[in-house]
């Protein structure tokens, strides 16, 4: 398994897009921190950029990479290797690359300029988001045989997670404004990893005071140790479920 991971990472490094992504993140985070003299403000600006860009790049790059390494996988499948090993190695290689890219690009500036609890939460959430969206992309890629369709599905998934989902939530909130929806909101946020990350980071920033009563409920749930553990459990499920389902699909796929 280690050897295949090694070859996947070498291949990813060779195509330089991940390096460009790292530099891009580095550029953005450095400039954000240098523009604001208050590092908390810098974090807030960085938050919005990260919540948009990290899922998009992880999703698209991974989906395209999986399609492009079809030859490589075909070659490996005819060798004495377990299919599950091949698939998990591909996932691990992609997840490590995207995780390290985020750590170097955004993590190092955060550690340099804002090594607070908020900064550390943001670093952790960024890495988790990278890993989650690599998993989702691999699931999308294994479900659709057609390359254009698979990449299209990835883009739609990204749109759903970062725009549509919030729109639907807002719609529900306005429609049912007369009902107490606070607990419902907490439950619904579990269906979107981006939302969970945003809430986690915002709570650290004390901006939750601006969110009114819902913010207080969020603080009550996510601020406690059991709540925190539950959140990480949900995020863990967001990684493991797509990986598990896609590995099962790949096991029965005709190459």
């Amino acid at each position: 398994m280690k050897k295949i991971i090694k070859y996947v990472i070498i291949d990813i490094l060779r195509n330089r897009i991940v390096l460009a992504y790292t530099l891009f993140l580095l550029l953005i985070s450095m400039s954000v921190f240098n523009l604001e003299d208050n590092s908390a403000k810098g974090l807030l600006s960085l938050l919005n950029i990260i919540l948009i860009i990290v899922p998009l790049v992880s999703l698209l790059f991974s989906a395209i990479y999986v399609y492009n390494s079809a030859e490589f996988m075909e070659l490996l499948v005819s060798q004495p290797l377990k299919r599950k090993t091949i698939w998990l190695s591909l996932y691990t290689g992609l997840a490590i690359s995207m995780g390290i890219a985020f750590f170097v690009g955004a993590g190092l500036p955060i550690l340099l300029y804002a090594a607070t609890a908020t900064g550390l939460t943001m670093l952790l959430m960024g890495i988790l988001l990278s890993v989650i969206f690599v998993a989702i992309a691999m699931l999308a890629a294994v479900m659709t045989r057609d390359k254009a369709k698979g990449i299209g599905v990835s883009i739609l998934l990204w749109l759903y997670f970062s725009l549509l989902f919030d729109g639907i939530i807002l719609f529900i909130l306005f429609q049912f404004a007369d009902y107490p929806l606070e607990n419902f909101m907490v439950g619904v946020s579990a269906f979107n990893p981006i939302d969970i990350s945003r809430i986690m980071i915002l709570l650290q920033l004390d901006e939750s005071a601006l969110m009114g009563y819902t913010g207080a409920v969020f603080k009550q749930v996510f601020g406690t140790t059991p709540g925190l553990m539950a959140t990480f459990l949900v995020l863990f499920i967001w990684v493991s479920m797509p990986v598990w389902i896609s590995a099962r699909k790949f096991n029965r796929k005709d190459l």
């Binding site: 050897k3 291949d11 390494s69 030859e71 499948v77 005819s78 060798q79 029965r252 190459l255």
Partner: protein
């Protein structure tokens, strides 16, 4: 060595393999022939586990291949169209395969020499011509000294000199008592090699018999003519 029992495979509406049963033993050299789209490559891919069959099972040395993946270390496979990672060079692909197979001794690098591939070791795979790719596939198939060789149209796209080299190599491996399966449309070049013929049509195996029996039955000396006669009979 390889036994397929009632293997079925369907791609959408197309029945690629229809109740295929076959038995292949050590020391045989089997020609898998049939018209385009008759299921030859699908059968080969089923044996390799690249295509998962819908029903039926295939055993390799009495072990079901569905749950056992180590058996593939005893197979050398040369695909019809060799597809390799574009960014890698020939040398990198070869050394990666050695690394993955964890086998460093007993390597058979005779073909690399006779094809003169060393001079091209740092050419990238995407720049290679079809024939050179085919040479790389052949080298990979023979490199690990496998007990079974599965060659899917090995000579397609090779120049006459390389074809001869490859045929000699196949012949010498056959002398060592290995099981060899070849598909090809150029029947004349199979004449000197094969001992058994499997003829497939529309996903079914029409017959599987030693080449001598086939020649006796049809009264022809050449494989191509014998096959033509059999196909002609079926159409009548």
């Amino acid at each position: 060595m390889i036994i397929a029992t009632n293997v079925n495979k369907q791609f959408g509406k197309l029945k690629a393999l229809d109740n295929v049963s076959a038995r292949c033993n050590k020391g045989e050299c089997i020609a898998l022939i049939g018209p385009n789209g008759s299921g030859k490559t699908t059968l080969i891919k089923c044996i390799l586990g690249m295509v998962v069959c819908d029903s039926g099972f295939i055993t390799f040395n009495d072990k079901n291949i569905l749950h056992d993946w180590t058996y593939r270390s005893q197979i050398g496979y040369m695909p019809q169209i060799g597809r390799y990672p574009d960014n890698m060079t020939i040398g990198q692909v070869l050394s990666m395969m050695k690394d993955i197979r964890k086998q460093n001794k007993g390597l058979d690098e005779e073909l690399i020499e006779s094809f003169g591939l060393q001079q091209m070791f740092d050419k990238r795979m995407r720049t290679l011509s079809g024939g050179t790719r085919q040479k790389v596939s052949a080298c990979l198939a023979f490199m690990f000294n496998p007990d079974v060789l599965i060659l899917d149209e090995p000579t397609a796209g090779l120049d006459p000199v390389s074809t001869e080299t490859l045929k000699e190599k196949i012949n010498s491996e056959k002398q060592k008592g290995k099981l060899i399966m070849i598909t090809s449309h150029i029947l004349s070049e199979l004449d000197e090699l094969v001992t058994q013929v499997i003829f497939m049509q529309d996903g079914k195996i029409c017959f599987h018999q030693p080449i001598e029996t086939l020649k006796e039955q049809t009264g022809e000396q050449k494989l191509s003519k014998a096959i033509a006669r059999v196909m002609g009979k079926q159409q009548l």
